[in-house]
Amino acid sequence: MDFNQLIVILATAIATATPLVFASIGETITERAGVINLSAEGTILLSAMTGFAAAYATNNVLAGFLAAAIVGALIALIVAVGAITLKQSQIAIGFVLAMLCGDLSSFLGNPIVLVPGPTVPSLRIPILQDIPVLGPLLFQSDALVYASYLLMALTWVYFYRTRNGLLLRSIGEQPAAAFARGSNVVRMRYFYALLGGALMGIAGAAFSLDFKAGWSHRHTAGYGWIALAIVIFGGWNPLRAALGSYLFGILQSLASVAQSSIQNVPTQVFSVAPFVLMILVLVLTSGEWLDRLLAYLPAAWRRPITRAIHAPPPAALGKAFEQD
């Protein structure tokens, strides 16, 4: 394998990870506000289907993304009403929706299975695309990929540099304390749950209109679950969630390379391998043995490194906020 081939593989990995970047950042935002939207698998499937259908019907890719975002937000609205207003188990609601919306996508999407439809056109960024290595790696893709870069940067700045971002982290951590500081916990949780849902919807359309163009039964199966795992891997930090998405993308690229070079192994092994490896990575990066390893570091390094690696979930994650 020469250098150019490696670049191509990495560039493919980065591009194909784009839907996961949207999905994992969307879920990160939702969970930072204290709400778990476990419906990711169903949301991505249903919005991938609706996004493709809308783009097919209007012959407009943007309309497809819009429809997908709306579907994602609507599913998140169901989660939000159940979790925030009715104070029911977020796990149960999300899980049922994951199943329901997945099946719904197969049922409703039957007429558009394997029909050709519009896709996101490629767009190379002038000047930047000519930078050696980085150009072909990052800037010879399409608008959706560039939007995901923007999303990462904006979300990070919002989380860690703005007043509202600080409040967002506050309501997921200690809603009572955020309430005592004058924020409207319920309204903010609704807002961020819907925003996260819309981003997850865009992730669905990113599959059906771009990286896995078209629609078939269970078109995006598995990606919703892996997005949820990546949020945990990412320690509820948008940049680390993106990093996790790319890691998964690279694993997938490697699997497809391996598939073409190694015969006599069932192809299913290669399509499942990235999921298994990802779980392995999750275990390795969050295990207790890592703490023991960290204990050998010099004291001056231990604290910042431990702080960077240790990312406890938002303390109020999945818990309803009881006023009075």
Binding site: T162, R163, L166, R169, S170, F179, A180, D324
Partner: protein, 491 residues
């Protein structure tokens, strides 16, 4: 700011938490709000700070009706509250906590905020590092952070709910100095407490609440007997501890070395006699807990031996023995964190009784456990029913439940903060129970941050200071002052 609460009503279900409560606080005054647990003090101040919405009643600030419905309204009106459990964000930094919830532009000016924070903290001699994570702070430091945060919001009335629980003596004096300074600046302070001494030391006036009503208001100084009778409707006296020591040794510690990875504790020799009470004094986290855990059989000593009095054969070594053997040797342990280590949040009193009962069959005898639970509720005066979950009980009733679950005959009772967070009545009641056990021959080891409690009830005191352990001292030759110096490490 002049604060007036007029005819406030609030009920939670069948409980009338505030029943026609009126309170008036002058600007520049520190006003105490005194009452036992569950008297309705917290409800009243939470209404004033917008945290709870009142059913009826009027809040006047400087004579004007203030439409306080949410904490946001209260802060805008200049009312800020320090909650009993600090309402902050432990995983975030001090600076993030300081800034969170403050109005301002989209982006946070970290440098300006940090500058303002430092100016405010130095004004009150608080020492807080802006980059420290709040989870590494003590309760006292978290209070200081909250006070500074509220002042930066321009608060004119500061409410503090039980602020002296769980903070050190030096933090308490820093807190009191800060509050006096604020009052001198013309701000009004409402100081909610069940501790008479604190109110007497700090406040200009005091309002006493009982069972949702205001019983009366008094100016300080005021005889504490009068305040006590207002709080409880009768006079209370602390039980005095009779001489109960006998010669038999129930616990013997030899060359004990303990470690939890952060701290090492060494105790060379200690004999605890039948009926003896030994107080473990020291700042929290100075090694008392490790010692208690080792005596309870929960923490394995790194070296040395704990010997317990076992039935026939006198003292026997417990080295390497499991926790179960410690229980059989008649050791009872009541941890400080009643809900996390002592009781099980979601289980009812009856469930706890069933858990304690030795298993005779695979099934629970519901009738007899219910009867036993009812008996425990009666004898230990627990405000709850057999099907009340542990998490729903108040702190005092949790402690009563823990005591009720202790086996009747014990050689040794180990306790951490036996009366933390309890009102005077419950405190006295708890010690009456403990003294009764001493008279039956049980020895008690207890850790407490309340020096008066240590001096009053202990026969001998051991002082812990950063893992250093003093020799036992007879309480008769000990005053709270010398004890305070020893806790600082002078021995």
């Amino acid at each position: 700011m002049n604060v007036q609460l007029q005819h406030i009503y609030k009920n939670f279900g069948a409980v009338q938490a505030n029943d026609d409560v009126s309170l008036s606080v002058e600007s520049g005054a520190i006003h105490g709000l005194l009452g036992e647990n569950g008297a309705g003090k917290s409800t009243l101040v939470k209404i004033l700070s917008g945290f709870i919405t009142r059913d009826r009643g009027e809040i006047l600030l400087n004579g004007q009706p203030a439409g306080i419905k949410t904490p946001a309204d209260a802060i805008r009106a200049g009312v800020g509250m320090l909650h009993q459990d600090p309402l902050d964000f432990p995983p975030m930094t001090v600076l993030d906590n300081f800034v969170s919830g403050r109005p301002g532009g989209l982006f946070i000016n970290q440098r300006a905020a940090s500058h303002e924070f430092k100016a405010l903290t130095s004004q009150f001699n608080f020492e807080l590092d802006v980059d420290e994570q709040v989870s590494n702070l003590t309760v006292g430091e978290r209070q200081q952070l909250e006070i500074v945060r509220l002042l930066a919001l321009g608060v004119q009335t500061l409410i503090l709910d039980e602020p002296t629980t769980g903070i050190s003596a030096s933090q308490k004096s820093a807190l009191f100095a800060a509050l006096k300074k604020l009052a001198a600046q013309g701000k009004s302070v409402i100081f909610v407490s069940h501790k008479l001494d604190d109110v007497a030391e700090l406040c200009h006036a005091v309002t006493v609440m009982r069972a949702g009503h205001v019983v009366g208001t008094a100016t300080i100084p005021c005889p504490s007997a009068r305040l006590v009778s207002m709080m409880f409707g009768r006079e209370l006296a602390a039980p005095s501890k009779p001489q109960t020591c006998r010669d038999d040794v129930v616990l013997q510690v030899q060359h004990l070395a303990l470690s939890d990875g952060r701290m090492d504790v060494r105790i060379d020799r200690l004999d605890v006699h039948c009926g003896e009470v030994i107080g473990l004094a020291g700042l929290e986290g100075s090694g008392q807990r490790l010692f208690l855990l080792a005596c309870a059989g929960i923490l394995r000593p790194a070296a040395g031996d704990v010997r317990l009095h076992a039935a026939r054969n006198g003292l026997s070594s417990m080295a390497g023995k499991p926790y179960h053997d410690f229980l059989k040797a008649g050791v009872g342990y009541l941890p400080a964190d009643r809900l996390r280590e002592g009781l099980i949040w979601g289980l009812t009193i009856q469930d706890h009784v069933a858990l304690r009962t030795p298993a005779s069959s695979a099934f629970i005898d519901r009738d007899s456990t219910r009867q036993n639970a009812e008996l425990a509720i009666q004898t230990f005066n627990i405000r709850g029913r057999t099907d009340t979950r542990a998490g729903q009980l108040s702190g005092g009733n949790q402690q009563r439940t823990q005591l009720a679950l202790l086996p009747p005959a014990l050689n040794l009772v180990l306790m951490e903060h036996p009366t933390r967070g309890l009102d005077i009545e419950s405190t006295i009641w708890v010690w009456q129970q403990l003294i009764a056990r001493c008279q039956a021959g049980t020895a008690i080891l207890f850790a407490s941050s309340d020096l008066d409690e240590i001096v009053q009830y202990s026969d001998r005191v051991i002082v812990f200071s950063g893992g250093k352990v003093s020799a036992p001292i007879d309480t008769t030759s000990l005053s709270a002052e010398t004890l305070g110096e020893m806790i600082g490490g002078k021995f």
